[in-house]
């Protein structure tokens, strides 16, 4: 059974994520502050709390280890900010992103919609072969809280979108690299299924 690490940016509430992974099949879940410990784990979660620059600086010294984990095919799930960090840069901060994926993170358009985007919205799955979204019905409700959104250069990364002012890419998947703009740990039964899927992917990678 899978042993999963949550990287702590030092910004707070990881309790829900921890509970959710344990409740959805992970054997053990640890909160780590350095990626040097990563080899002991079957998967990594980048949580969705905090702000861009402080999260990036907490990871900067480990960026080589992060790249190595991606290259080795370790299952990685970025949630909200944890997803945004994977890209080149964000309008939220001045530091460079982790640059694992090509693209930018932009502020939601305030003129068109209320910002932050808070609440339950529908998932439109565009990659029906997605492993992370296995068993998730089209138009499922998931919970969002964010002010920024990703703009990947490569459309093929996008596994699902949500309509909010425009079509926002909200799930990405590239082999074992996953990201959700919404919070699966807060999205009721649908979110629980997504967490289970991720834990299963980690198990296969053991």
């Amino acid at each position: 059974m899978a042993k999963i690490a949550i990287f702590d940016f030092g910004a707070g509430n990881l309790f829900n994520l921890h509970q959710s992974l344990l409740g959805n099949g992970a054997r053990s879940v640890d909160i780590i502050r350095s990626l040097r410990e990563l080899e002991n784990y079957d998967g990594l979660v980048l949580p969705g709390v905090g702000n861009f620059d402080s999260a990036i600086s907490s990871m900067q010294k480990d960026s080589a280890l992060m790249n190595a984990a991606v290259d080795k095919g370790m299952p990685i799930l970025g949630i909200c900010l944890g997803l945004e960090m994977l890209f080149d840069r964000s309008e939220e901060g001045i530091l460079e992103g982790l640059k694992i994926l090509d693209g930018d993170v932009l502020m939601l358009p305030k003129v068109k919609v209320k910002v932050p985007h808070i609440g339950w919205n529908n998932l439109r799955i565009v990659n029906t072969g997605s492993n992370l979204l296995k068993g998730i019905p089209q138009d499922s409700w998931v919970y969002f809280v964010h002010s920024y959104h990703i703009e990947p250069q490569d459309d093929k990364l996008i596994a699902a979108v949500t309509e909010y002012g425009s079509k926002l890419p909200v799930v990405i998947e590239r082999s074992n690299l996953f990201g959700t703009q919404f919070h699966p740990e807060k999205s009721g039964k649908i979110g629980a299924q997504i967490m289970k899927n991720f834990v299963n992917i980690c198990e296969k990678n053991e």
């Binding site: 509970q19 905090g50 609440g119 339950w120 529908n122």
Partner: protein, 270 residues
């Protein structure tokens, strides 16, 4: 398609126990916040709000352990408010598993608390509660007040603190704009005029605030039926409604309310 409208039950907590009459079949202990949170969650609540109405010092410890227990049984977001005065009060609640904190009186006294919280935890964690009452002592020369024209007398919307008991002279519309700038992620807007009446939400106030800011607004105060929610969603741009007493009995469960709203054309998560 727009976002779904959120229906948020509110639980008043005193000394770690939910107060006000709550009667559900199948709930063993009607005062246990954890059991009620689970029940509401299973019935389809979109979020929950816990308001600590005592907020004494020893109560903070009890609240912390309650937050932790609630966070381990539900998988929807929840907010905790009441008596949060400092960054460390808020931090304790958030680190124990609450998704958001709601701050009220403290915001008026130390507005920079909003910015500090936003910087550390992110805007989405910061709900600013604004309690509002109509004040008919209008001073035409005060440019800080937005004068509203009532059927009989003019008034302005005044921000109240200490649970709605004390006026501040601050105009609620200006205040909402200000806290948006300071870093609030959402406004929990309570009409003291409507609160407890069960005559419906304060549509005039809700419109005045929703039309002045671009962050989500939760309306509170006055709800006595599902139709009041329909009215709030149809007549204003509000994002969520808070209700306490109507959910506290079996007859009007969340799933029934949400189904009713959907029949009336309101987009809800079913």
């Amino acid at each position: 398609m727009p976002l779904s409208k959120r229906i948020i039950p509110c639980l008043d907590v005193d000394n770690g126990r939910v107060v006000k009459g709550i009667k559900f079949r199948g709930v063993k202990d009607a005062g246990d916040p954890v059991e009620l949170a689970k029940t509401y969650c299973d019935q389809g609540a979109d979020e929950l709000v816990f308001l600590d109405i005592t907020a004494s010092k020893q109560d903070r410890e009890i609240m912390k352990s309650m937050v932790r227990k609630v966070a381990s049984v539900i998988d929807i977001p929840f907010t905790v408010g009441g008596g949060i005065k400092t960054l460390s009060d808020a931090r304790e609640i958030l680190l124990n598993g609450a998704d958001k904190v709601s701050i009220n009186t403290a915001t008026v006294k130390t507005p920079e608390l909003v910015t500090d919280l936003m910087k550390i935890f992110g805007r989405q964690c910061v709900v600013v509660a604004i309690d509002v009452k109509r004040n008919y002592e209008v001073d035409e020369k005060n440019e800080k007040h937005t004068i509203m024209h009532g059927p009989e007398r003019d008034f302005y919307f005044e921000v109240m603190i200490y649970g709605g008991s004390k006026g501040t002279g601050i105009d609620a519309i200006q205040w909402a704009k200000k806290v948006e700038e300071l870093g609030a992620g959402e406004i929990l807007l309570t009409s003291i005029d409507a609160d407890g009446t069960k005559n419906g939400y304060d549509i005039e106030l809700t419109n005045a605030i929703c039309n002045s800011i671009r962050i989500p607004v939760i309306a509170s105060g006055g709800c006595g039926s599902s139709d009041h929610m329909v009215e709030a969603f149809k007549k204003t741009d509000v994002d969520a409604v808070l209700a306490a007493s109507i959910f506290h009995y079996d007859k009007l469960t969340l799933d029934k309310v949400k189904k009713y709203l959907a029949e009336k054309g309101i987009r809800t998560r079913l």
